[in-house]
């Protein structure tokens, strides 16, 4: 009984939903504040993202006449639950509970938000949303393969040091820091760019382009449903960098020192994301595809070869 309650507490409050949400809101504020400072503006107050979401929850929900209602309403829920699942898996793995969260599960769950976006915008039957959905789909196609390859590199890197049957376990992978090698570094950089695309940030905000016109995937959404999308994005700001931290940077431990270190790693990844967002112009969808498939793909193939060689000859830094 007590065990069940603790688990519930873990999942819902700390470090589950509520905690993730709090971190996400702060992260979202950081994104806007830093962007404003770059443009010589003051930027919003710290409670701004929370206020935005709260306000949207209190507003009316309009569903377009021609929309497929069930899918239209279900899509943001699917997206949100996808991210929640991901963050829970991550937290449990990080806190080294007895949980056999495996990296494949995480990778599959990570696709859910993008799929939900495509579903939702296709269901809203607006030409703008249709364009957005088409772009999102192409974007997913372009970054999903490099991301997978990046994880393959990690699996190769860590497999030598792990016991049989543990190679795919997130808990086990979190014990290692594959970024401290050439192949790991390459994989990390590519994965970071993929995360940028997953978050829908410049230079890969092709599907949304919120800064100019919200004629993107969410154009027909309003009220609480829009709030769900915003929440999903907020939670992704926590989950995705955290995933990178877990897989590449050795995770967050349980001792005080390693928690502090872990927070530092998370902030580092987040700041990297924000900086990339603010110093780059938007690319076109075909440029993004070429970038991910050709450049990132080549780099990762090299990384896979390096990692295999390193494993075979026992050279850690390759």
């Amino acid at each position: 009984m007590i065990q069940a309650l603790t688990n519930l507490f873990w999942i819902l409050i700390f470090p589950g939903f509520v905690f993730t949400l709090a971190v996400g809101l702060v992260a979202a504020w950081l994104v806007r504040k830093v962007s404003a400072l770059v443009q010589y503006r003051v930027g919003p107050p710290v409670y701004q993202p929370a206020a935005d979401v709260m306000k949207l929850l209190g507003k009316e929900i309009l569903i377009p006449q021609d929309a497929q209602r069930a899918v239209f309403v279900a899509a943001p829920l699917i997206g949100l639950s996808g991210v929640l699942l991901l963050s829970t898996v991550l937290w449990l793995a990080l806190a080294q509970r007895e949980f056999v969260g495996d990296i494949i599960v995480a990778i599959y769950v990570m696709v859910l938000p993008s799929l939900a976006l495509i579903l939702g915008s296709s269901a809203s039957s607006s030409p703008h949303a249709a364009i957005g959905a088409g772009r999102e789909m192409k974007l997913v196609l372009s970054y999903e393969l490099p991301l997978l390859l990046a994880f393959v590199v990690v699996i190769i890197k860590t497999s030598g040091a792990l016991e049989a049957g543990e190679q795919l376990s997130l808990v086990a992978i979190a014990q290692h820091t594959p970024v401290l090698s050439i192949s790991g570094m390459l994989a990390f950089i590519v994965a970071l760019l993929c995360v940028q695309a997953k978050l829908g940030f410049v230079p890969f905000d092709i599907a949304e382009s919120e800064s100019e016109v919200a004629s993107g995937v969410m154009i027909e959404y309003s009220g609480a449903l829009l709030a769900l999308w915003k929440l999903m994005q907020t939670l992704m700001l926590v989950a995705l960098p955290l995933f990178l931290v877990t897989v590449f940077l050795g995770g967050i431990g349980t001792s005080v020192a390693s928690v502090l270190g872990g927070v530092g790693k998370y902030v580092l990844v987040l700041v990297l994301v924000i900086l990339i967002k603010n110093t780059n112009p938007r690319v076109r969808i075909d440029q993004a595809m070429r970038f991910f498939w050709f450049y990132c793909g080549t780099a990762l193939l090299a990384a896979v070869v390096l990692a295999t060689l390193g494993n075979y000859y026992g050279v850690g830094w390759l």
Binding site: V38, Q39, Y40, S126, P127, H128, I131, I206, S209, E212, V213, S215, I219, T279, N280, P281, R282, V283, R284, Q287
Partner: protein, 405 residues
């Protein structure tokens, strides 16, 4: 298909954070190439010509200054000149100088505004923020003279309503120096930038013959080598006393229009300074008792081109006919000549280059009959920006940073 496209574009798409006037463009494209353009105006038709017939001669300037917020000094001036022509009134010399100064300040603020928006259209948001920042002091000066940041309402038949206080002149001279310096810097940054060259040169060419056929005016004409300028051709206010040049460029592309506007801004700052230094003493208005029957044409060079007003009087206290021709009315249709055959990534900036009362490029729908693709304004803007990025890579230009400007 058309219905399905039009509805969402009109109801949802047309509005944009950088809001502009309502006009609706429908572009027909074949692949990447624009083959036809259809324009629907009327969203902004307020019936000013009819309203004017119901107002007294001295009330009309307030109406016509609200034709366009950015040309709110040139429209009343053109009207007042038409009425002065009927009445045979000659305003005092100081009034002519005050009119000149306000019109040139208006030109500076309008051109800087355009430069900012053009920057925004090709993906240089930094240019946008900075140009608008430089523009603020001009608005402050105008507020100090006329009491309003826009809509000055300063001219009347027979002179001006408010004078420029002598104490303000040193401050204005100082501000003008600063503006001129900043604009020169901006001009240099824009003219030396290889990306802007690659992005704007040879784009949206309006040939000289086409320009004459479509009767274009202002920077649109001067960018196509048609060196016309009402300030020189039919001098009004104090322009014949000042030392200045008509800027024109022969190429006819978007780049030429940008160059014309930037150089004109510097020229306008110089003219304002000269006029301030020469400012004669005396009253700023003479009394005008009544307007005799007759007809008069007044025209003035607004930032976008010639504003033309035709007024007819029957001896009463109201005009019986008042025709207004804003420069955009003839400049806008000219993209029938300059846009057709261009790629859609370049259409936004080509339309914006005309500066149609600060860009009507909002209301656009692109209909591709062959591929069934609908592009809205956002995707056009994106295409335009993506092209900038691509060109930047091709010439190996460094990433733009805020400090570079």
């Amino acid at each position: 298909m058309t219905e399905a496209v039009r509805k969402p574009v009109l109801a949802v798409g047309p509005f944009h954070p950088l809001q502009e006037e309502m006009e609706f463009f429908q572009l027909t494209v074949d692949g990447e190439i624009v083959t036809d353009i259809d324009v629907r105006i009327s969203y902004n038709h307020r019936g000013i010509e009819k309203l004017s017939e119901g107002l007294q001669f001295d009330q009309v300037p307030f109406l016509v200054s609200r034709i366009c917020g950015i040309c709110s000094a040139s429209h009343p001036l053109a009207y007042v000149q038409a009425v002065e022509e009927i009445a045979g009134v000659e305003p005092p010399e100081r009034a002519l100088y005050v009119r000149t100064i306000i019109n040139e300040l208006e030109r500076i603020h309008s051109h800087l505004l355009w430069v900012g928006l053009a920057g925004h259209f090709i993906g240089y948001d930094t240019v946008f923020m900075w140009a608008w920042k430089y523009r603020e002091p001009v608005l402050d000066l105008l507020e100090e003279i006329t009491g309003n940041r826009n809509n000055y309402g300063n001219v009347k038949v027979g002179g001006c309503r408010e004078d420029i206080p002598d104490e303000l002149v040193p401050k204005m001279l100082k501000e003008l120096d600063a503006i001129e310096k900043k604009t020169e810097m901006l001009t240099k940054a824009v003219l030396d930038d290889p990306v802007i060259h690659a992005r704007l040169k040879g784009v949206g060419v309006l040939k000289k013959e086409d320009g004459i056929k479509f009767a274009v005016t202002g920077p649109t004409a001067r960018g196509s080598g048609i060196a016309i300028d009402v300030r020189r051709d039919d001098p009004y206010a104090a322009y014949s006393d000042l030392d200045w040049q008509v800027i024109s460029q022969p190429e006819g592309d978007v780049f030429a229009k940008a160059v014309v506007r930037l150089l004109e801004t510097i020229e306008a700052a110089k003219m304002t300074r000269q006029a301030l230094k020469k400012l004669p003493k005396g009253p700023v208005a003479v009394e005008v008792k009544e307007i005799p029957p007759g007809e008069g044409c007044g025209h003035a060079e607004a930032p976008r081109g010639e504003t033309f007003h035709y007024v007819r009087s029957d001896g009463g206290n109201r005009p019986v006919r008042h025709k207004v021709r804003a420069p955009s009315f003839v400049n806008v249709p000219s993209f029938k000549a300059s846009c057709i055959g261009e790629s859609i990534a370049d259409v936004t900036i080509t339309l914006a280059a005309v500066d149609p009362c600060y860009s009507c490029t909002e209301r656009m729908a692109v209909v591709d009959g062959r591929r069934n693709v609908i592009h809205d304004y956002a995707s056009l803007l994106q295409m335009s920006r993506a092209k900038t990025t691509r060109l930047r890579k091709e010439i190996g230009a460094p990433e733009m940073k805020l400090e570079d400007i």
